[in-house]
Symmetry: C2
Subunit: 445 residues, 2 copies
């Protein structure tokens, strides 16, 4: 009876265990999804424009699908309004510059391919039954190969990559359809008109509802990166010379500032893409149509050389070779001064860029920075008169067989202190001077 | 009469001048085009696989357009075989990994969106005339917005960006067509089947005709970069210490070697993209399906820290502060030794990666390198006993009121030599050691 009971209970238990297991797995999955959604939501809150972009796409698509719902419009463009929907989905991008560049690419690619395809079709239809398909096939093969190959050419890849793809696509569709659809010209015309409807809608939505300009983004990115660089530089020098005894600044905050320069190192691709897109944008805000976007890329490059220098500096600070306190103290004040001066110069450049006005203060600050660097250099060069490498010690009180007095004692106690960290500052400073002076004559706003 | 003659001659001249002008402009344009084509052709010859890729796309498109020419096949999939052409154009990428990733994205996106759209359509048709369009419109708006937003999430952006776009596209097309095309299920089924035909063709062509594997490319890129790094390191150290008196090596060649490390610095984005694509690829060559591609990214990152260190080193060498010949000579042999040892370690790591076999030589070389670094460090630390900072001078022969003998003379003549460059070598070496030891336990092939 007992056995029976237990076996029946286990039989009763089995499904409930399975249910519990499945339930557990589902809860786990739901938790994961929940976490993921939460993370995504947080990302959206950090930059609400991402939400807005999503809504903009929704608006554009709803607007374009109205063409389908409204009878008169539908009859106007025919069943091909599908192409308008497709255009919106494919062309709509985050920044206005990207959208415009894709629109131009799409229109150019579509029309060029359309004309070519119609020309080939006309030629093929003239050539007769036997040679026609051959001409069409060979031209398709050759043009597709050539266009694909041309996408590898750097300048085309940067600006007309999408155009090439659309060219291949349209050419294939039109030339292949040519053998079935009799009204080829109608097809081509419809496709072009729907593409134009779609692109116009994209441009209107992208440029009127909270537009996001690639140029403005690039401008912000660069000025913020300059600030980050300045903070990192000053922060690392201050920290090294134990000068960061300010209250109210948490360690976490400090650490965040220090690693700010890493953003500068990794922003190359973003900058180049944005500069490429910004050139398509019309005048907006304080930016003209032919704003010197290329200069931004150059500034970015010089910032990166500066940041990689800072990287080496920080690596030095974190390395095992520690300088003696003696030399550290000697060099502390001037190094901290140099660090803050360089940071000031970078900040002033950032301000100049922000205001887009040549500031007279920059020149002055550069001179001050150079002076500070020269001071440090002098101090290092005249190390013997400054007792930089010589640690003063009490003269030995034991009276052994020594003859030569305190001078030799000093010489013996002298040690080659790992000057690494301090010299690095000089290196950084000189590189900074180079960079800053380059940045200076680059910014012509 | 004379006037008449000259005016008529100028009238005769005008068109010919214009013709000459237009002709000149055309010749100029033709020259430019010619130059451009030549450049593109040279690029193709440098890497013939780019030509081959163009031809592959041509082959795939010709094959897919056969569906149009062949009656029975055409009747099978209907007039929608256009989708197959489109799929081939959009999906076919340079590397096999990219193609496969796009295929998977496209299939998943299309089928998911198709099912959802049919579900919404069913719901809308149940809701009646009044609420149906509203449900369809709202769901379109919400799903499109959500999918667009999700493309900003980093992990989705890296792997499923294209899938999201296809999802929006298919959903819009199906749900919008739902109000016009009565045979919705047929449309969805045709679209799926044509997409499958197109993707199969793409995969077959991309993986059978001269396949280009992202994984293999990544492997090659990394090993070549390691070699370049080693060459740059050794080259710069050798050049600095005037050790490059080998005959038969031109200056141009040498310079090329030196700037090789810049490739390492700028290859971050490429490496990450390729590692992302390589994970989709099936086993090929000596690579298994679950090859540790993430390790490659890590190795690349440590190579970059190493390269940025080398960058600082080379900047130091090119700076104005020149070390005195005295100290240079003293440190020359050991520095050159250290440089070549480090380069050897990097080369050995490259060889290890190439053979994908753990080499016992690496450990030995690392030990040797560490020894060399220690020697250099010792030399620098014991600078006073080595007279490193003290330049021996002839004792002053003039007999003034000096009392303290040669020791003080030495002390006075001692100068703080800019040890910058040499210390940099130590920095590089220590960083290298770090890097190499990290590289070592990363490579688990």
């Amino acid at each position: 009876d007992h056995d029976n009971y237990s076996s029946s209970s286990s039989l009763l238990l089995l499904p409930s265990v399975m249910v519990a297991y499945v339930w557990g797995a589902m809860v786990g999955l739901a938790m994961k999804v929940c976490k993921f959604v939460k993370k995504a939501w947080k990302m959206g809150l950090d930059d609400p424009r991402k939400f807005i972009h999503g809504l903009k796409v929704g608006v554009a698509l709803s607007a374009v699908s109205l063409f389908y719902y409204m009878k008169p419009l539908y009859n106007g463009v025919g069943g091909n309004s599908m192409w308008a929907v497709m255009t919106v989905v494919v062309v709509f991008e985050y920044t206005a510059g990207a959208t415009i560049s894709k629109v131009i690419n799409r229109i150019c690619g579509t029309s060029l391919a359309g004309f070519l395809a119609i020309g080939v079709h006309w030629l093929a239809s003239r050539a007769g039954e036997q040679w026609g398909p051959l001409i069409a096939g060979v031209s398709l093969f050759l043009l597709a190969s050539a266009a694909t190959f041309s996408r590898f050419i750097p300048i085309i890849k940067a600006r007309f990559d999408y155009g090439c793809m659309v060219f291949i696509l349209t050419f294939c569709l039109v030339s292949v359809s040519g053998f079935r659809v009799e009204k080829l010209l109608d097809l081509a015309q419809q496709r072009v008109s729907t593409v134009i409807i779609g692109t116009c809608l994209c441009i209107i939505v992208s440029m009127t509802i909270c537009p996001i300009w690639a140029g403005k983004e690039l401008h912000l990115l660069l000025t913020n990166n300059l600030d980050k660089l300045a903070n990192s530089l000053q922060g690392s020098v201050d920290q090294y010379f134990n000068n960061n005894q300010q209250e109210g600044v948490s360690d976490e905050d400090c650490r965040k500032k220090l690693i700010g320069y890493k953003c500068v190192l990794s922003s190359k691709a973003t900058e180049e893409t944005m500069a490429n897109l910004a050139r398509w944008e019309p005048a907006h805000g304080r930016f003209n149509f032919r704003h010197p976007w290329k200069q931004y890329v150059k500034i970015g490059a010089s910032m990166r050389t500066c940041a990689s220098c800072l990287d080496a500096l920080i690596a030095c600070i974190n390395s095992h070779n520690q300088a003696s306190d003696h030399i550290k103290k000697k060099l502390s004040s001037i190094s901290v001064k140099l660090g803050s001066k360089s940071a000031e110069v970078i900040r002033e450049v950032a301000t100049t860029m922000r205001n887009m006005r040549k500031s007279s203060k920059v020149d002055m600050l550069v001179v001050e920075m150079n002076n500070a660097a020269q001071e440090l250099r002098d101090l290092l060069n005249n190390s013997h008169s400054n007792n930089l490498l010589v640690i003063p010690q009490k003269p030995p009180t034991t009276e052994d067989d020594q003859e030569v007095g305190p001078v030799v004692v000093e010489l013996n106690n002298m040690m080659m202190i790992p000057v690494m960290e301090i010299i690095q500052v000089v290196t950084v400073a000189s590189l900074l001077i180079e960079t800053v002076s380059r940045v200076e004559d680059i910014v012509k706003t």
